[in-house]
């Protein structure tokens, strides 16, 4: 958070004339499923472990409890179907939401992890969210904690671990624009464009 991943993603999308999917993904998933965008928003990149409770008073039965229901997992399924569909239709840039795992079978993908030093990120968040240093730091820690839980749960991998990505880069070293140019170069070289 605060490393400018969204901005770089948008610039890359422009560069390669690809569709950009950040929160737009939620809209896509909503259309796919017939559900409202709001419910996808409420559960965006969150995995609450206490949300899926079963009933009291049905002890023997809770394990034979039959759940074709509406759970966070169902939402995730719809979202990932939407991602796959979009990826088949044309070039896309997906921000987060386990897209690297969901599209792992697609050969023409590049996975990029963008980070930055903690001080840089705190400063960015302070400006964007109008918070003081401590609040910004807490904002980052909690946000990333939630994102990591979500990612780790659905993919079985570790969020931010270098093995999941083709390229990991610190955006504060070269600044957003130059970082984007570097990434674009990497992509061109990888696909021989």
């Amino acid at each position: 958070m605060g490393s400018g991943g969204h901005d770089i993603g948008r610039m890359l999308a422009l560069d390669f004339q690809a569709k950009y999917y950040d929160r737009e993904l939620l809209n896509l998933a909503a259309k796919e499923s017939g559900l409202s965008e709001k419910i996808f928003e409420q559960n965006d990149e969150k995995k609450g472990f206490f949300r899926g409770l079963l009933n009291i008073g049905a002890p023997h039965m809770s394990s034979s409890g039959y759940k074709p229901g509406m759970t966070q997992e169902t939402l995730f399924q719809f979202q990932s179907d939407a991602i796959r569909k979009a990826a088949k239709e044309g070039s896309c840039v997906f921000v987060g939401r386990c897209a690297d795992y969901i599209l792992r079978d697609f050969s023409n993908t590049v996975n990029i992890f963008i980070t930055a030093s903690l001080e840089y990120r705190i400063e960015q968040i302070m400006n964007k969210q109008h918070l003081d240093v401590e609040a910004a730091q807490k904002f980052i820690e909690q946000g990333e904690g939630k994102r990591a839980d979500y990612y780790n749960y659905y993919t079985g991998k570790k969020w931010g671990s270098a093995e999941s990505y083709d390229l990991c880069i610190d955006s504060s070293k070269l600044g957003l624009v130059e970082t984007e140019k570097l990434i674009a170069q990497f992509i061109r070289k990888k696909f021989d464009l």
């Binding site: 049905a58 039965m61 034979s64 229901g69």
Partner: protein, 449 residues
């Protein structure tokens, strides 16, 4: 996966009544089948072995629930994770999850068995066993505990069967165990006169048979997910996810257990073993109807959840009202039967005069306001289905913990044994009184949208 999506979209379009019927029926069948099993067990024991035995059985009930709680934790956790992985076509991880489920069930089952057998007597005493009921409870539990791993595996495999899209098979194994158990209980207890041990053996044997069938299903190499070498090693990430998901149903089950343990103790204290026996009988009767309501709620969940997510609030509410209607109708039947024929119902379980009296009274009191539980349970479930977790936890707990426990503690101080009985209908009604305003307040919020 395509028909999953079709099924999901249908939730928003097919007529609500039809959907409710479609989803609730299998759930109702599964749930009432199991409570029937309970009744047959207790009836056999009560008639053939005696009133003390039924009391002993009542003592063991929370113990069995505790064991089921562990099994459920793994079952629910693993099946949720497997569903996700299958949805992502990540078959390798799904297979490892299957293997891990088997291993976890065996390990946890074994540990549970070891600890429980070591401390069996003190545990049973804590649950309310007296000198008279202890031998029965012990005899029953030893067999159940020795077969604990089988029980866990059976429940676990059932959950996985659902996750891999074979809910019918899961239902068949439940129906099979119920049927087989009935046959065996009659054979072992009534014909062979093996006593309370016979009932335990009947349960474990029928579960083992079902488990063999399940394992055979999963051994089929043509199946997407089948048992093979190399999947049994426990993997930290998988286990962590299974437990993280499983902990919620686990805690709910444990809470249930604690309540029954407390109630059993209160009954022993104020009414002796006969009272515990009566409670155990009354409870079985209540359970049959309650399970029906649970089935309706399970059926309602996906419909309400989806339509809420799709902002089709009229459909959502219609489903809620239908579910409340169904649940209340059944409970009215139950209520009628209990008020008019309590002695006849108790007669199924025992011929002992004292126990008959106590049970008849107990059934009447327990079911006194039971028809409101229909709305209470359904509404609580409704809130859960739309994701209002805090409200639904509060309402669930209100019925059992917040109201029942303190009442069951205080009332007998004033009214003796009757006080313990009164606590039940009064807390039922109290939580109903809390649920209705919550629903109304929530409806108001909806109207504003």
């Amino acid at each position: 996966m395509q028909d999953n999506k079709q099924a999901a979209l249908a939730l928003g379009t097919k007529p609500v009544g039809q959907l409710l019927w479609q989803y609730a029926l299998p759930a109702i069948v599964a749930m009432t089948a199991s409570s029937l099993y309970n009744i047959i067990d207790r009836a056999m024991i009560g008639q053939v072995v005696g009133p003390e035995a039924i009391a002993g059985l009542g003592i063991t009930f929370p113990f069995m629930n505790l064991s089921a709680a562990f099994g459920a934790a793994v079952g629910v956790g693993a099946s949720t994770c497997i569903s996700v992985k299958l949805g992502q076509k990540d078959y390798q991880t799904a297979e490892h999850l299957l293997g891990n489920t088997v291993t976890l069930n065996l390990v946890i089952g074994f540990l549970f068995m070891l600890v429980s057998l070591t401390f069996l007597d003190p545990i049973l005493r804590f649950f309310g066993a007296s000198d008279v009921t202890l031998p029965y409870a012990r005899e029953f539990m030893i067999v159940i505990l020795l077969g604990n791993m089988i029980t866990h595996m059976y429940f676990g495999m059932n959950a996985v069967l659902r996750a891999v899209g074979k809910p019918k098979h899961a239902m068949y194994s439940v129906l099979f165990t119920v049927g087989m158990n009935i046959v065996l209980v009659v054979t072992f207890v009534w014909w062979f006169r093996w006593g309370i041990r016979g009932a335990a053996l009947a349960t474990i044997t029928s579960q083992s048979m079902a488990m063999c069938w399940q394992l055979w299903l999963f051994s089929d190499k043509k199946e997407l997910l089948h048992l093979k070498r190399g999947i049994y090693r426990l993997k930290k990430t998988l286990v962590r996810n299974i437990i993280a998901i499983g902990i919620s149903p686990f805690l709910m089950n444990v809470t249930s257990c604690i309540i029954v343990i407390f109630m059993n103790n209160q009954f022993v204290r104020y009414g002796g073993d006969m009272a515990v026996g009566a409670y155990s009988i009354a409870n079985s009767v209540v359970m049959v109807f309650f399970m029906f309501v649970m089935g309706v709620c399970q059926g309602m969940q996906p419909i309400v959840g989806y339509n809420y997510g799709a902002e089709k609030y009229d459909r959502m509410l219609r489903c809620l009202y239908m579910a409340i209607g169904c649940a209340t109708a059944i409970l009215l039947v139950g209520w009628g039967l209990s008020m008019l024929f309590p002695r006849q119902i108790a007669r199924i379980f025992t011929t002992d005069a004292t126990l008959l009296d106590l049970s008849a009274r107990g059934i009447k009191l327990d079911m006194l306001v039971f028809f409101v539980v229909g709305s209470q349970a359904t509404i609580t479930n409704f809130f859960q289905s739309i994701g209002k977790v805090k409200v639904s936890i509060f309402l669930s707990l209100s019925r059992q913990l917040i109201l029942l426990l303190p009442m069951a503690y205080v009332f007998p101080l004033m009214w003796g044994l009757d006080g313990v009985w009164y606590a039940m209908p009064i807390s039922d009604f109290g939580s109903f009184a809390m649920t209705i305003p919550m629903l109304l307040w929530y409806m108001k919020k909806f109207k504003k949208r």
